[in-house]
């Protein structure tokens, strides 16, 4: 589908993307996670052909995307700052423009989505609240039916009912019209069930790429008396630790072998799972 090879993007002295190699398989929903400033927005803009790589390549089905309408007509990126039009533009006019630009755009579906979000074609972009602007971005993005559709924090400022509509529509339309989605988000626990795989970007590099369900089994929290816990985790990959009086909890990365689990039980140590969000925080440097 889309591949990057040795992709670098620099802003002056700052390196936003650092020799990134990525290969997205068609027909999947990917989640893009990363801390603020990790490079998510730059990556999405570069994949969409909005930004020229400083070095390296971005290819969509073998073709460069930058300044290549044949590739970019098959890519839709909804940016968090909107970028859909000016304040005085009416939603209906923006959708008509989107349809003119993109063969895959489905105006009937756009109308149904507008309705679900309680928006109308007559409203102007400038009259919308932050959450409504996000909802309209979702309308444009989903109705584009672009083979590669990307949302940069699609749900920014949206209320819980709106986010639920987004999840329902995304899944329903993805099943009916399979395509590739790449969604960046900070709402990890809420959004991660929608993803098949997550990509974690950290300091411009790809830190991890894994099936989201596998990620749920990657971390183990070991809890017990400090000295016993320290002993037990020696030689394991420790991501973080916290203490409460004489009790210590250490988060380790990687599945524990059965003998290790047995040893933990014998010493009265508790082993618990680690939520994806906690794992993300630990893997990207803790707090």
């Amino acid at each position: 589908m889309i591949t990057t090879t040795d992709l670098c993007v620099r802003y002056g002295e700052t390196t936003a993307l650092d020799a990134l190699d990525l290969d997205l398989t068609p027909g999947r929903i990917y989640g893009l996670l990363g801390r603020n400033g990790a490079g998510k927005t730059t990556l999405l803009a570069t994949l969409a052909g909005f930004r020229k790589p400083s070095a390296g390549r971005v290819l969509l089905d073998g073709e460069p995307v930058f300044e290549n309408p044949r590739a970019t007509s098959r890519i839709c990126l909804i940016r968090e700052d909107g970028g859909l039009g000016d304040g005085i533009d009416r939603l209906g006019d923006i959708l008509d423009m989107a349809r003119a630009l993109r063969k895959t755009h489905d105006q009937g579906y756009a109308a149904a989505l507008l309705d679900r979000f309680g928006l109308s074609r007559r409203q102007t972009l400038g009259s919308l609240s932050r959450g409504q602007r996000s909802a309209f971005g979702i309308v444009v993005g989903l109705a584009s039916r672009a083979p590669l559709t990307m949302f940069d924090e699609a749900h920014l400022g949206m209320d819980a009912p709106g986010r639920r509509i987004f999840a329902d529509e995304l899944l329903a339309d993805y099943v009916a019209h399979p395509r590739t989605f790449l969604l960046s988000t900070h709402l990890i626990e809420e959004q991660s069930p929608l993803f098949e795989q997550v990509l974690i970007l950290h300091r411009g590099r790809l830190l991890l790429r894994e099936d989201v369900d596998d990620l749920r089994t990657r971390g183990v929290a070991v809890t017990g008396p400090a000295a016993l816990v320290d002993d037990f985790v020696t030689g394991l990959t420790v991501l973080g630790e916290r203490s409460l009086g004489p009790t210590k909890e250490v988060t380790v990365y990687g599945a524990l072998a059965e003998p290790d689990r047995e040893a933990a039980r014998l010493h009265g140590l508790q082993l618990g799972p680690v939520a994806v969000q906690d794992l993300f925080i630990h893997l990207t440097g803790g707090v």
């Binding site: 899944l171 329903a172 099943v175 929608l194 989201v212 369900d213 994806v276």
Partner: protein, 123 residues
């Protein structure tokens, strides 16, 4: 809806197995499709498909090409046998360990079990 800590596919598979055990789903009854499960639980369809694959591997459901998934004949009995094997290890042993920690004599436990299961009790 799901705990955020164990794989979702396993939680879905467990729910379907519970339905088979309780007789909500019976032999040769059709199971909802992966996409229906995905939409209902708001999860990625690939995750739902993984749950179904696990159930096929365990012989709980089978696939009819182009039609869908169905409950395997005898699935309820097999699941019950498997859970029975696990009952002593996963339910009884931890209970005894807890009783020992609390200093509850085994005789008290046995007496309570007799009381709970005595005829006429309605349980």
């Amino acid at each position: 809806m799901f705990d955020d800590r164990s794989p979702i596919y396993r939680q879905i598979a467990d729910r379907i197995k519970d339905d088979v055990l309780r007789g909500v789903l019976t032999d040769d009854q059709q199971v909802m499709s992966t996409n229906q499960y995905a939409a209902y639980y708001r999860i990625n369809p690939a995750t739902a498909a993984k749950a179904f694959q696990q159930l096929v591997d365990e012989g709980v459901i089978y696939k009819r090409r182009g039609v869908g998934m169905f409950v395997s004949a005898g699935a309820q009995r097999r699941l019950r046998d498997r859970r029975r094997e696990r009952f002593f290890g996963e339910v009884l042993e931890p209970m005894i360990a807890e009783a020992r920690t609390l200093g509850i004599p085994v005789a008290d436990i046995v007496a309570r079990i007799h009381q709970l299961t005595s005829p006429g009790d309605g349980r």
